[in-house]
């Protein structure tokens, strides 16, 4: 039974912790036969004179921990965090202050692009769903020591952030000269629903005499939620409930163009020599301004629990003490309900890469990706080989490494069946699997897998032989 609990817990965390923005697989970066490469670097000009993007799906799972972090190899066997042989310091090295679980799901609905001289113009429309959770390591550390006297737990990294929005991406790329290509994307954003926590401080100090909780932060939402304030506006709200809505209401809700935002992608490609090309991109610089159905519950205060207070004159001492405690929790912390606008920033990503061209059909690339999040910074490196053995097929094989994180193989494949392009790609494909025997029950697990990014889609490609004046054959140097 335990194996199912652990397995599903692992899958659940992997699947439902999410990232603020769906990251495309890094293998896409140098797949110039796939127009969506411009999603990562807007300066990238696809090797097609025109395209129509048909529906695509991009799913990204990302976790700070893998199975091997949850269970540790101690030699003859693996142990769970319940075991005294489990080394929590190793877990801490893997997670930092916060264990982040991220997931996103992008649905590309429609897009098109075309070349005009040195310029490449594209437009794409899609829906993006983002969910991100952060579990403070100190929360996990309770399983290490418990609540001994003199402990300080910092739960300030606790966070939950999720939202859905529609994105219209208007891209423009221009070859400024033979060496330099620059691109920009302007992306009007239309938020649909959002909820986020913003914890400034959340600390617990324990001692035998008193437990001291300090909390400061807010929970904001732009969603059909109704908050009824308490009689004393500084007390916890009387109720927090979803509005009663039917399917038409939901359709209208998600179809609206309220909650506007904007984001920018900037990129450049520089052909240093005929074989060496360097590129960089800064994407997702933007935010969404949430203005509809707003509720923000702010809380700020300090609560010292030094025991239940039982008075000898109370006939029902236990109930009276618990009622008093509940009342304290509602009233000692200052709450405030407001309906102010709030912003959610996207997670900026910076890409820098270098590509070496062996032949026009074989290139080798290296790519660095940096992701900037609150309480978290993630760095990935990707090494790839890109092969186009035939004009209708191109393959990418890559290997990604994240310092203090995972590593894994990736690949991308593009097939052209006439103008129809089918593409699929994945990053951090599990490279090892094991049979887990947990208390006699066996199941298969990828013990080192922390991430998995998959993207599949269809395009209609026109002028697939590519560049205006660059031959597809091997150069005769």
């Amino acid at each position: 039974m335990q194996k199912f609990i652990y397995f599903f817990l692992f899958v659940f965390l992997l699947a439902f912790g999410t990232l603020i923005r769906a990251q495309d697989p890094m293998g896409l970066y140098y797949m110039e036969t796939i127009p969506q490469s411009s999603f990562i670097n807007p300066a990238m000009q696809p090797r097609a004179n025109g395209f129509v993007a048909l529906p695509s799906v991009n799913q990204n799972f990302k976790s700070d921990i893998a199975f091997k972090n949850v269970f540790q190899d101690v030699g003859s066997e693996w142990v769970s965090p319940l075991s005294k042989r489990y080394d929590f310091s190793k877990l801490k090295r893997a997670t930092g202050k916060s264990i982040d679980f991220q997931e996103s799901l992008d649905l590309g609905l429609f897009g098109l692009g075309f070349r005009s001289g040195r310029d490449y113009i594209s437009i794409n429309f899609g829906v993006k769903n983002v969910l991100q959770t952060g579990i403070p390591y100190d929360f996990i550390s309770i399983a290490d020591k418990g609540f001994p006297s003199g402990s300080v737990f910092d739960f300030s990294t606790l966070r939950l952030k999720g939202y859905s929005y529609k994105e219209l991406a208007l891209g423009y790329s221009r070859e400024w000269n033979e060496k330099l290509t620059l691109g920009v994307k302007v992306k009007p954003l239309f938020g649909m629903v959002a909820g986020m926590t913003d914890i400034n401080s959340f600390k617990l100090k324990t001692s035998r005499q008193v437990w001291d909780v300090t909390v400061s932060g807010s929970i904001s939402s732009s969603a059909p939620i109704e908050v009824v304030e308490a009689e004393d506006s500084t007390d916890f709200p009387e109720s927090v409930e979803f509005k009663d809505m039917d399917s038409d209401d939901w359709q209208g809700y998600f179809g609206s163009f309220d909650n506007m935002g904007v984001a920018f992608d900037l990129g450049g490609v520089y052909q240093f020599t005929p074989r060496w090309t360097f590129s960089a991109a800064l994407v997702n610089l933007g935010y969404i301004n949430w203005t509809k159905d707003l509720n923000t519950i702010s809380f700020n205060g300090n609560y010292e629990f030094d025991g239940l207070y039982v008075n000898g004159s109370d006939e029902d001492m236990g109930d009276a003490a618990m009622d008093a405690l509940e009342e304290d929790l509602k009233t000692i912390i200052d709450y405030d309900v407001s309906h102010k606008k709030f912003n959610t920033g996207l997670t900026p990503e910076f890409y820098a890469g270098a590509l070496y061209e062996f032949t026009p059909s074989i290139t080798m690339g290296v790519l660095a990706r940096s992701m900037f999040q609150k309480h978290n910074f993630r760095q990935d490196f990707n090494f790839s080989a890109n092969v186009q053995p035939y004009s209708f097929v191109s393959i990418n094989l890559n290997y990604s490494v994240r310092p203090s994180g995972g590593n894994g193989l990736g690949t991308a494949l593009s097939l052209l069946l006439g103008p129809l392009q089918i593409y699929a790609m994945a990053d951090y494909i599990p490279t090892r699997y094991s049979t887990v025997n947990m208390d006699g029950d066996e199941f298969t697990m990828f013990p080192y897998t922390r991430n998995l990014s998959v993207k599949v889609g269809l395009n209609l490609i026109f002028g697939r032989h590519g560049y205006r004046d660059r031959p597809m054959l091997a150069r005769n140097m």
Partner: protein, 550 residues
């Protein structure tokens, strides 16, 4: 072209298939063995937790006890008072008994005329008879208003007499009068009168308070007067609303009036303390217009000491008797009762000696005497609808005491196996458990305790507190004997793994608590208990234990 594409795709797929097979084979890692069902390997967690702050004051205790014998004075000092109401019946003091009088008269004498009257002549009759109400010659009734009284007057005349016969009693207001008409044939008459609401102003004679029955008649007779006239006066069910007069010197007594003082030991432990002040007060309350003399004697304070009943005699000013006089009530509307009290205290009696330890019973004989000064000229007794003399016997003591090692033993249920859900593995999970008790004592008592854990037969398994560990210390007292600032003491009750295992193995069932309580400086000082005195206890825990396997 299409064939060419298909052929190449097929070739790619074949290559890919073999690559996948190779990769899959090479990617298979070692099997991972996880055994979570190994409790001995599980981590030990520890925790510290503030649990309960318990506050208890004397006022809380009073509320819980709901004992009206305990009260709080204006200064906040707790006081004990127990009392007993005694009713001394005096219904015979001024009771008017039934009155039955009969008279018989010879008609020839009544109407005797000389010379003899002619036939069908008339003759007048006039009779006055005194009806005495007091049965005791020294008692005098002056005036009374009747609540009840059934008077029947019967007259029987010999045949041949005719004419009206009128009776009246002039002392009764409204006037009680009636006229009968004799016809010569039907000459027996009877009349019932109710005295309810009537007032009687008794006429006074020597040793007699009486009313006068007047009989007046003018009779015709057809023959020589002969025969008799019989008169009956029957007064029954007499009840007065108020009666004035002099009711004489009488006595009423109550022997062995018992006052039990319950639950002194269980609720208060007072039997084990020495009280600084005790008073015993006899209150009397007289609603009758009669002065009394009260004599309470043979006052015994009883208690059981070491299983033996012990009785001690209260002496007041050297004798075992309390005497007091009670004035008569003042007549008016309403009647103003008279009261008097006699307080027995440490300066006029041996009450401290007989009341320490506190008694469980007080037994007393009471004798009351009316008009102790006899008949005082120009004064009247009266008695209304209350014909009892009331007394209240009250023992009262401020809780001002000293106690030297008041000891008690309590048994507390502690079924350890039940707590552990009958599973030894649960007990085995506990590595250590410590309970911290921080006492803040505002009571003028210190307490020491032994605590041990016992099995179902009371056999000791393990000492928790031994050598009468100090639990409570007394803070600084002011001149009133009041604790100015709570005194803090702390006690740690801790168990290690081996002890906990022992509790389970040896089936711990009870906590046996022995406490010794002493008042502050109990050799010389008495302490006062105020309602705001009390005890605060903060309980916190530190524990460590092994995580159970799920």
């Amino acid at each position: 072209m299409f064939k060419y594409i298909v052929m190449n795709i097929s070739r790619l797929l074949k290559v890919g298939y073999f690559i996948v097979l190779i990769i899959l084979a090479s990617c298979k890692g070692d099997d991972i063995i996880i055994n979570t069902d190994n409790p001995d390997d599980n981590r030990i967690l520890s925790g510290a937790l503030p649990a309960i702050n318990f506050s208890y004051t004397i006022a809380d205790g009073l509320k819980e006890l709901a004992d009206d014998r305990l009260s709080v004075g204006a200064d906040g000092l707790l006081s004990f008072k127990s009392w007993q109401d005694v009713s001394i019946a005096w219904e015979e003091l001024a009771a008017i008994n039934d009155v039955n009088e009969s008279w018989s008269y010879s008609m020839s004498e009544l109407v005797a005329m000389s010379p003899a009257p002619p036939l069908k002549a008339t003759g007048s009759i006039s009779i006055q008879e005194k009806v005495k109400f007091n049965t005791d010659d020294e008692v005098r009734y002056d005036k009374g208003t009747f609540k009840n009284g059934d008077l029947t007057i019967s007259i029987e005349l010999s045949a041949g007499f005719s004419g009206p016969v009128t009776i009246s009693i002039p002392e009764i207001t409204p006037l009680l009068t009636e006229t009968f008409n004799a016809t010569g044939f039907d000459n027996s008459f009877s009349k019932n009168f109710s005295l309810a609401g009537r007032e009687v102003n008794f006429a006074q004679g020597v040793d007699s308070s009486y009313v006068t029955l007047n009989i007046e008649s003018s009779l015709s007779f057809s023959d020589i007067p002969s025969g008799q006239m019989k008169v009956d006066f029957d007064l029954a069910d007499i009840e007065t609303e108020i009666l004035f007069g002099y009711f004489g010197q009488k006595q009423s007594s109550i022997i062995n009036e018992v006052k039990s003082i319950d639950k002194m030991e269980e609720d208060f432990g007072l039997a084990s303390f020495e009280l600084k002040e005790i008073s015993y007060t006899l209150h009397t309350n007289n609603h009758m217009g009669v002065p009394f003399n009260i004599e309470a004697s043979n006052i015994r304070f009883n208690r059981v000491v070491d299983g033996i009943e012990k009785s001690e005699l209260l002496t007041v000013n050297g004798v075992s008797k309390i005497e007091m006089e009670v004035d008569s009530a003042t007549f008016g509307s309403p009647i103003q009762p008279a009261s008097n009290s006699f307080r027995v205290h440490k300066d006029n009696s041996n009450i401290l000696e007989v009341s320490n330890p506190f008694p469980e019973q007080i037994i007393i004989d009471i004798l009351s005497s009316s008009n102790p000064q006899g008949n005082i000229p120009n004064t009247q007794n009266f008695i209304g609808n209350i014909d009892s003399l009331y007394a209240q016997l009250e023992i009262q003591a401020p809780v001002w005491l000293k106690a030297k090692e008041y000891t008690r033993k309590d048994t507390i249920d502690f079924d350890f196996r039940k707590i552990m859900d009958q599973d030894p593995e649960n007990a085995d999970l506990i590595e250590s458990l410590a309970m911290y008790l921080d006492f803040y004592n505002k009571l003028p008592f210190s307490a020491n305790a032994n605590l041990f854990i016992a099995d179902a037969d009371g056999n000791k398994i393990e000492d928790v507190l031994s050598n009468f560990k100090s639990l409570l210390d007394v803070g600084t007292l002011n001149s009133e004997g009041k604790v100015l600032e709570a005194k803090h003491t702390d006690v740690v009750v801790s168990f290690d793994k081996s002890q906990i295992k022992k509790f389970f193995d040896q089936k711990a069932m009870f906590l046996i608590l022995e406490t010794k309580t002493s008042s502050y400086n109990n050799e010389t000082e008495f302490v006062k208990i105020f309602e705001d005195a009390g005890l605060d206890v903060s309980i916190s825990f530190e524990a460590s234990g092994r995580i159970p396997s799920f």
